[in-house]
C-alpha cells in the first residue's frame, strides 16, 4: 500500500475526507519500535500500513561471521522476552543438523526452562495487553510474577533477560541444588496469582466489551495469512508444534492445547490464560520426573557440520519459531542463518484485523497478536 493523500469519499451526504495518522515508532502501546500508518474514516480504520525495521540489527548477517556456539548469544536478542526458547530452538536445529543426541536430563531441563519462559512471556503479554486497555493494576501484578521467574533464571544462568542458557548438545551447567524445589514452590504461587488476573479481567464487563468481537479472524483465513501460535489457536486451528512435532521432552509430557472458537481478541486472551495453566502442569511433571544423568551430549570440540541444510521449528510463546541453517561444510560459521519469527508472520495479519475497527481497537489488537519487535526486525 502506498502512502495516499487524504481522499474525499463521494456519495455521502456530507463530504468527509480520510485522515492519515501515524502511530509510532515512539508510542506507549506499540510494544517496541513499531510504526503503524492508519487511514481513518472518522473513527473507523480503513486501512493500516505497518512499517517495521526500526530494530533491525542484522542478526542473520552477523551470524554468518560467528561460529555456531557464538550464535546462541544472538538468538537471545531476537525474542528478548522469551530468550531461552529462542536458544533452545537454535540449539535443536544445530543438533538436528549434526545428529547429536541430547541426554534426557538436558531435555527435561530444557522443557522446564522453556515452559517457565512461556509463563514469563505470557505474564508480560497479559500485563501490557491489560494496561493498553486500561487495567493498569494487572500490569504490576504480572510483572511481580515475572520477577519470580527471572530470579529463577538468574540463579540458573546468571542473567535475567538474555540468558545464553543453552549449548549445542545440552546445557552449559547443571541446575543449582534446590532449584527444582524453588520451581515447584513458584508453581504453587503462580496458580493463585492466575486466579487473581482472571478475577480482574476474564468476566469483567468492560474487558468483555473491549475484546469480544474485536479482530475476528477464522481458521482458514488465519492459516492463509500465516498466523501461528496462540493467535492461530484462538481461531480454532489446533496447531501446536509441541504436539504435532514433539521436541525436547514434550512427547513424554501430558498436557492439553487450548483452542478458541470465535477467533476474536477475547478467545486469544483465553487461550493464553489457559496456556499459563498448561505450562504449570508441564513444569510440575518435568520437575518431578527429572532424570539423573549428564547434561550435555557428545559434541565435537570444533563444531563444523558437513555441508547441508535443515529446518527445525519449536513452539515459542509467540508461535512457531523456526530456524533454517545452511552449512557449507568448509567453515565453522553457518553459510546462511535464517529465522522464521512468529511475531513477524503474525504481524502480517494486523492490517486485516484492524480494518473496520475503531482507533482504540488498534491498540488492543497489537497487544492481542503479541509481538516482540526484536523478533520482527531481527
Amino acid at each position: 500500500m502506498t502512502y495516499l493523500p487524504p481522499e474525499t469519499i463521494h456519495g455521502a451526504m456530507f463530504d468527509t475526507s480520510e485522515l492519515v495518522i501515524n502511530m509510532g515508532p515512539q508510542h506507549p502501546s506499540t510494544h517496541g519500535v513499531l510504526r503503524v500508518v492508519l487511514r481513518l474514516d472518522g473513527e473507523k480504520v480503513v486501512d493500516a500500513d505497518v512499517v517495521i525495521g526500526y530494530l533491525h540489527r542484522g542478526i542473520e548477517k552477523l551470524s554468518e561471521n560467528r561460529n555456531w556456539t557464538q550464535i546462541i548469544l544472538l538468538t537471545d536478542r531476537m525474542d528478548y522476552v522469551a530468550a531461552a526458547t529462542s536458544n533452545v530452538g537454535y540449539c535443536e536445529t544445530v543438533e538436528k543438523l549434526l545428529q547429536i543426541e541430547v541426554p534426557r536430563r538436558a531435555k527435561y531441563l530444557r522443557t522446564v526452562l522453556m515452559e517457565l519462559q512461556r509463563i514469563a512471556s505470557h505474564c508480560l503479554w497479559v500485563g501490557t495487553h491489560a494496561m493498553d486497555i486500561g487495567a493498569m493494576t494487572v500490569f504490576l501484578y504480572a510483572f511481580r510474577e515475572r520477577e519470580l521467574i527471572l530470579d529463577l533464571f538468574e540463579e540458573f544462568c546468571g542473567a535475567r533477560l538474555t540468558y545464553n542458557s543453552m549449548r549445542i548438545g545440552g546445557l552449559p551447567q547443571d541446575i543449582p541444588p534446590g532449584w527444582d524445589k524453588k520451581v515447584l514452590a513458584f508453581c504453587d504461587v503462580m496458580d493463585g496469582k492466575l486466579d487473581e488476573y482472571e478475577t480482574l479481567l476474564t468476566h469483567n464487563r468492560i474487558w468483555l466489551e473491549r475484546t469480544k468481537g474485536v479482530g475476528v479472524i477464522h481458521g482458514a483465513e488465519a492459516t492463509a495469512l500465516g498466523l501461528c501460535g496462540p493467535a492461530l489457536r484462538g481461531s480454532g486451528v489446533a496447531r501446536d508444534v509441541r504436539k504435532d512435532e514433539p521436541y525436547a521432552a514434550y512427547d513424554e509430557m501430558d498436557f492439553d492445547v487450548p483452542v478458541g472458537m470465535a477467533g476474536d481478541t477475547y478467545d486469544r486472551y483465553l487461550v493464553r490464560m489457559e496456556e499459563f495453566r498448561q505450562s504449570l502442569r508441564i513444569i510440575r511433571q518435568a520437575t518431578a520426573g527429572l532424570p539423573e544423568g549428564p547434561i550435555v551430549g557428545k559434541v565435537p570440540r570444533l563444531i563444523k557440520p558437513a555441508a547441508g541444510e535443515t529446518y527445525h521449528a519449536i513452539e515459542s510463546p509467540k508461535g512457531e519459531l523456526g530456524y533454517f541453517i545452511v552449512s557449507d561444510g568448509k567453515s565453522t560459521n553457518p553459510y546462511r542463518f535464517r529465522v522464521r519469527p512468529p511475531s513477524f508472520c503474525n504481524l502480517q495479519a494486523l492490517p486485516r484485523l484492524v480494518r473496520g475497527h475503531m482507533v482504540a481497537d488498534v491498540v488492543a489488537l497489537i497487544g492481542s497478536i503479541d509481538i516482540v519487535l526484536g523478533e520482527v526486525d531481527r
Binding site: 486500561g134 487495567a135 493498569m136 493494576t137 501484578y141 466489551e209 473491549r210
Partner: protein, 340 residues
Amino acid sequence: MIEQFVIPTLKILIVLNATLVGVSYMTLLERKVIAWAQSRLGPMRVGPSGVLQPIADAVKLLLKEDITPTKADRWVFTAAPVISMVPALIVYAVIPFGPVVRLFGRDVSLYITDINVGLLYIVSVASVGVYGIILAGYASNSKFPLLASLRASAQLISYEVAVTLTLVSVILMSGTLSMVGIVNAQYNAHVWFAFVQPVAFVIFFIGSLAETNRAPFDLPEAEQELTGGFHTEYSGMRFALFFLAEYANIIVVSSVATTLFFGGWLRPFPHVAALHFLDLIPSWTWFLLKSFVFLYIFIWVRATLPRYRYDQLMRLGWKVLIPLAIANLVLTGIVKVMLL
C-alpha cells in the same frame, strides 16, 4: 457588619485554602492508593513517606518553561485551564459542611451560603466547566487536541443529562433545591437518600466518573490512545491546572454525593439516643469522612477497571443510564403521589 462581611470572608478563605490544599494532596492520595493496589509503595522519597511530594511537584511545575504554541490563540490558551478550575472551586459556596453551630459566642453556619436553588447552581456551574476543555483543544491550534477536546466535552455533556435526572429524583424526595434543605430532609425522613434512591445513587456515581473524565471513562485523556488528548500542547503549571481541576471536580462530586445521598453532616442514626456518643465527632468531620470514602472509591475504581472505548462510553450514557434515570424518576414521582 461582622456577620455580613467578616464571617463570610473568613469562611471563603478557609474553604478555598482547604480545597486547594486538598486538591494537591489528592494527587498524593491517588498515587499512594494506586500504588498500594499494585503492590508497590508510591512516592516515598520527598518527606517522610512521600508526604511532601505535592509540594515538590508544584515547585517543579512552576519552574518549568512556559511554552505557548505559535499560532495558538494566546488569551484563550491561557484562560482555558482557569475556566476549568474556577467552576470546581466556586461550587464550594453552597456545600454545607455542617449545621449552624455555636462558635466563639456566635451562631455560625458551617456553609458559606445557602441559596434556595443550591443544587441547580452546582449543576449550572459544572456545565460552564465544559468550556475549559473545549477551549483548551481549540486554542492549541492543532487538529488532534481539537478532536479530542470535542470528544471529551461531548462525553461530559451526555453524562450531565443522566446525572441531572438523578438529581431531580433527589429533589422529588427532599422537596427543595437548597443543599441545607436536602440534608434536613434526610434528617426528617430518618433515612439517607441513598437507601431510598439506590438506582439514582448508582447512576449518579457512574455519571460522575464520566463527568470527571475518570477511569473507566478516561479515554479522552489516556496516554495509550493515538490522539493526544486536549491538553497535549500544555506544559508546566497550565498542564497541572487541568489535572488539579479534575481532582477538584472529583472532590466536589464526592461532597455533593455525600450531601445528597448520604446525609451530609449527619451522623449515622441521628435519632437513636443510644448512639449519642457519636456526637463527639463534630458534624463537619462526619461530612469529610464520608467524602473521603467516595474519594477513595474513585481512586479504587481507577486502579481496578479497564477503560471503555469511546462509542461504548456514549452508548452506556445514552442508551442505559438516561433511560434508567428517567424510569427511576417516573417511579419516584408515582410513589410520591401515591403516598401523599
